[in-house]
């Protein structure tokens, strides 16, 4: 055990800090939340700056234009960019963190060449078409059909919770190619250009009042079979190959941000009960920050503990607890959202325990994979 970073890692950190100091003043103010064209541009510009600075695709192999960074460097990158309040990955999320790595692992040469450079430069925004109205926690029960017709698939169905759907160029879509196979064996992974005829996108208004999620309706959408990634009916496996790219760093930005918000919130109150609860929230976030470092340590050794399964569950619940505290501390000062980051965050965090694996599903997973308890129906 050792808290100190190596000289090479400290030098990586110092260079990054210098680059951030130099680059951030040139970043224009963040556009308004519902100006999707401007938001896309802002996120894409930041990705381009990362690309020009040599920080794009940090965890991608060098042969695909990435930086081939170590897990610890990846951790430092997220830590330092969050501390410097640099733009978050935003609309580049699906492309840089999920679709890109999937193509690297499973794509053909042509598929890689068509998309990877664009993703790294911020020229191509991706969205994700996985969930459906009838397939949420039970994702493998998805029913959007892709029927083979010559060299095309013909898609019919409906997707939901598609982040940045309204501005995406391309989507990674899971579709059913064999309705008769057991449900997770009849799924294929497709690259879907979002401007194809038959695709209709409707934003969903969230409880926050924002519209980052979309519904996507697919009516007789023709996609060439060459847009399939991996073998037909092998999409369930394909979609899970990206786990090794995350390397325990999934919530670094969020945790650094949470620790900062705790320090900010300490200025809001002198009430002893609120302060005690604030100390408690801080302990939860700081413990998760240590757990993140421990996960990265294990990844660096090529091992994996239970930490990765724990962080999402524990972080989302701690963050809701913190948000609740903030509302109570702000009292009637918290009755308007504009200019009130803590109130906005309280609303946004309602989704944390639901999105990307509801807390109840996470508990099932931990009890089955870590503790070996009997499995739920699949």
């Amino acid at each position: 055990m050792e808290l100190r970073y190596s000289e090479a890692e400290e030098s990586f950190r110092a260079t990054l800090r210098e680059w951030l100091e130099h680059s951030l003043p040139a970043v224009p103010p963040q556009p308004s939340r519902e100006d999707w064209v401007a938001r896309r541009q802002w996120d894409a510009d930041w990705q381009r700056r990362l690309f020009d600075g040599g920080y794009a695709g940090l965890n991608w192999p060098k042969e695909y234009g990435g930086q081939g960074a170590t897990p610890t460097e990846q951790l430092i990158f997220f830590e330092e960019t969050a501390k410097a309040r640099a733009p978050y990955v935003g609309a580049n999320f699906v492309g840089t963190l999920h679709a890109g790595p999937t193509l690297i692992e499973e794509g053909t040469g042509a598929q890689k060449a068509a998309h990877l450079p664009n993703i790294l430069r911020g020229d191509e925004i991706w969205c994700q078409g996985f969930s459906e109205p009838g397939a949420g926690s039970d994702l493998a029960g998805l029913r959007t059909r892709a029927d083979r017709d010559g060299d095309d698939y013909v898609l019919n169905g409906q997707k939901i919770w598609c982040s940045f759907g309204q501005i995406a160029d391309v989507g990674e879509f899971l579709v059913r190619t064999d309705p008769d196979a057991p449900k997770n064996r009849g799924i294929s992974w497709l690259i879907l250009p979002m401007d194809l005829p038959g695709i209709e996108i409707r934003p969903i208004k969230t409880a926050l009042g924002s519209s980052e999620f979309c519904e996507v309706f697919l009516t007789d959408v023709r996609v060439p079979v060459s847009q399939r990634v991996g073998a037909e009916n092998d999409g369930w496996r394909v979609t899970n190959v990206t786990l090794k790219y995350e390397r325990g760093t999934a919530f670094v930005s969020e945790l650094i941000d949470s620790l900062r918000l705790c320090r900010d919130a300490a200025k809001l109150t002198s009430d002893a009960a609120h302060l005690r609860e604030l100390g408690h929230c801080y302990a939860a976030f700081d413990g998760l920050w240590s757990l993140t470092k421990r996960n990265v340590s294990q990844t660096s050794r090529g091992t994996a503990g239970a930490g990765g399964m724990v962080i999402k569950l524990a972080y989302s619940e701690a963050r809701q607890r913190f948000g609740e505290l903030c509302l109570r501390m702000l009292e009637r000062d918290g009755l308007h959202i504009e200019g009130n980051e803590l109130v906005e965050e309280r609303l946004r965090t309602l989704a944390l325990t639901i999105a990307a694996g509801a807390s109840q599903i996470q508990r099932n997973i931990i009890s089955e994979r870590v503790l070996g308890l009997p499995r739920e129906p699949r």
Binding site: M1, E2, L3, R4, Y5, S6, E9, T72, C262, R263, A266, K267, A272, L275, R276, E277, L278, G279, H280, Y282, A283, A284, D286, G287, L288, S290, L291, T292, K293, R294, V296, S297, Q298, S300, R301, T303, G305, A306, G307, V310, L313, A314, Q360, Q362, R363, N364, I366, S367, E368, V370, L371, G372, L373, P374, E376
Partner: protein, 298 residues
Amino acid sequence: MDLELSDDQVSLRDGIQALLAGRFDMERVRTGFDRAMYDELAEAGVFSLISDGFVWADAAIVFEQLGEFCVPGPLVTCAITGECASHVETSTVAIEHVSTVDYVYQIADTVTRAPASSFSGVASDWPLDPLTPILKVGSGVFGESVGDAELAQAFRRRGTVLTAAFQLGMAQRLTTMTVDYAKSRVQFDRPIGSFQAIKHLLADMVVRNEVARAAVYAAAAHLDEPDESGLDRTIAVAKVLAGEAAVVNGKTATQVHGGMGYTWEVDVHLYLKRAWLLETHFGSAESRCDDLAAILSA
């Protein structure tokens, strides 16, 4: 940066685990702390790790294992003072293990001590933790000065980390024994561990252990660093999370064991009671949350 055990630390953990499994089964643990137990642990090097060339991270690993086995005695005090001693902090209304130890320390603004034989009072005939005898103090003076505020701070930091490590070990063992029970206990023709109501309780035990373990290791590794900035914050976090893990896992273990969890025979209550006791050492979770808030507000 590495918060995972090194190969040497894995060997150290396995070594102490083998020793405890061989000589400190629950039958012996239930006999309580005595001088033979102290001598045996001292001979194994448990109280002299730092002077023997180990670091605090190593000591945390050892104390985590002592916690797993619920080994009784003022083990943390022995390790930080180098004596066979128990300690009090600001409150002197109850003193532990008086009839077994040589000294009782007071770790408060400064460090003082007195021979255990100098304390008089009423021995509790029904202590909260049956393995931790309590003297309800009538009188006694911590006359002898051992060290100044600096030593008190050092003792408090080290004591907190080792106590948190011990609590972590207890939380882990409570989880293991409860999961084993949930897999074997059958009701409604199924192991109770197949019900989500139980599975989710057990998953939450894992969550508490994993977060607490990372926090304890980070705090112990921080003790080994010359740079003390943020040290008290890291240590407070470890104590909050490990203390909660031990107590809440103790309560969960009792619940999942059902009626058996309320019996003297099943070990769960011994762990839960020790967890409660250790919440009175080096700051409860609540007081440590207050410390964290004070650090944030400063």
